[in-house]
Amino acid sequence: MLDLAADNLLSPIVLSFVLGLFAALARSDLSVPEAVAKGISLYLLFAIGFKGGAGVAAHGLDPRLAATILAGLVLSFALPFAAFGLLRVLSGMSRIDAAAVAGHYGSISIVTFVAATTLLANAGLTAEGYMVAVAAAMEAPAILSALWLLSRGDGNTKMDSDLWREILLNGSIVLLLGAFVIGMATGQDGLDSIAAFIVSPFQGVLCIFLLDMGLIAGRGLRSAGVLDRGAVAFGLVMPLVGALAGLGAGMLLGLSTGGVMLMMTLSASASYIAVPAAMRVAVPEANPSIYLTLSLAVTFPFNLTLGLPLYLAVARIMTGG
């Protein structure tokens, strides 16, 4: 376990994140152009989706797929309520801000998911390919819960049909699921034909992406003054709560060690792409600095450095893997 944590902390991926963090905190002008960051995120989504789909094609459709996706949907719906309760206890932030934050923690962070698969691979483990589809399924439901929590408050949320389409068809969901389907349709042959693009250089590309995430998180930390202590505590405790819920679901479903670990990771991670966009439209009164800083500058680094190896160790013990 400690070995695992140390190994993880000394991986090029985590160290690249730390480098970005350091550069931002030291106010270096190091920066990744927006277009490059977006390009890399397209690459990661395409690669991870495709590999998941090819994995499903290789092992055949698993009867657990539907149940696992269902479990993911339920978790994404339910976790914001836990997060909201926890926040109301721990932090003095407003009801609106708390609801907005809660929505982020029901949804998922795809880079955390990617880092988890990398950790699994390094540990010689694999997971069910369809976990990618579960990730996609968990992106949006939490937004609904957040809006429901809000409407019980000042009832001022704006939810139009456009917003629905934007949430359900947001670029990252479409690309992730689309690539998953392509991977499933083209199978091992498809994977072989583009493996030199989506498999071999993957970890290296991820380093550059995490460098950028470190830069963003570091810039976020500079405005961490918006968070009270309770909020920071929440950002460290909530992933554990989420992971526990994910663990329960994974065990109930009888997933593999890798599958359980990914389920924990998804539940433990917080969104910073799809949910913020929806919140800006539906709840402009909520302060974006609060939810972005918590998600990107507190929970993401925690998961990346300590959370992931912990989840893996726990998943191993619980599944005997």
């Binding site: 920066s31 990744v32 152009p33 927006e34 960051a37 977006k38 995120s41 704006k158 456009d162 947001n170 670029g171 950028d212 830069l215 963003i216 810039r219 405005s223 910073y272 792409i273 799809a274 949910v275 913020p276 966009a277 929806a278 919140m279 800006r280 439209v281 402009p284 009164e285 302060n287 974006p288 600095s289 972005l292």
Partner: protein, 103 residues
């Protein structure tokens, strides 16, 4: 060169609201506009920068819209209905345009 009086309306708004804004403009019968990128800025809600961003929730754009003076009021009404609850800045200045028949 013959020029005509017009109004130049410049609206700084979050990218996620761009489509809603242009749809509102269309409702005010304004069908010509341009969207300019922004690198960053600062305001009451703090500083932001577009560098390295991956979140779709952050970032602003500037929508520029040149109209005949008589269209200003209906346009501002529509624009206001969109920016009301959002962050953003709306400014209007007088200008002269060539080829007024196009507006």
């Amino acid at each position: 060169m013959q020029t005509h009086k017009a109004k130049r309306v410049e609206i700084i708004i979050e990218r996620v609201m761009e489509r809603r804004l242009t749809e509102a403009m269309t409702r005010a019968d304004v069908t010509g506009w341009s969207v300019l990128p922004m690198l960053g800025g600062s305001g009451r809600s703090g500083e932001w920068s577009r560098e390295g961003q991956i979140s779709r929730g952050t970032g602003l754009v500037q929508v520029v819209c040149i109209i005949r003076p008589e269209k200003l009021d209906p346009l501002l009404d529509q624009v206001f209905s969109v920016v009301e609850r959002q962050i953003g800045v709306v400014s209007v200045c007088d200008c002269e345009i060539l080829r007024a028949e196009r507006f």
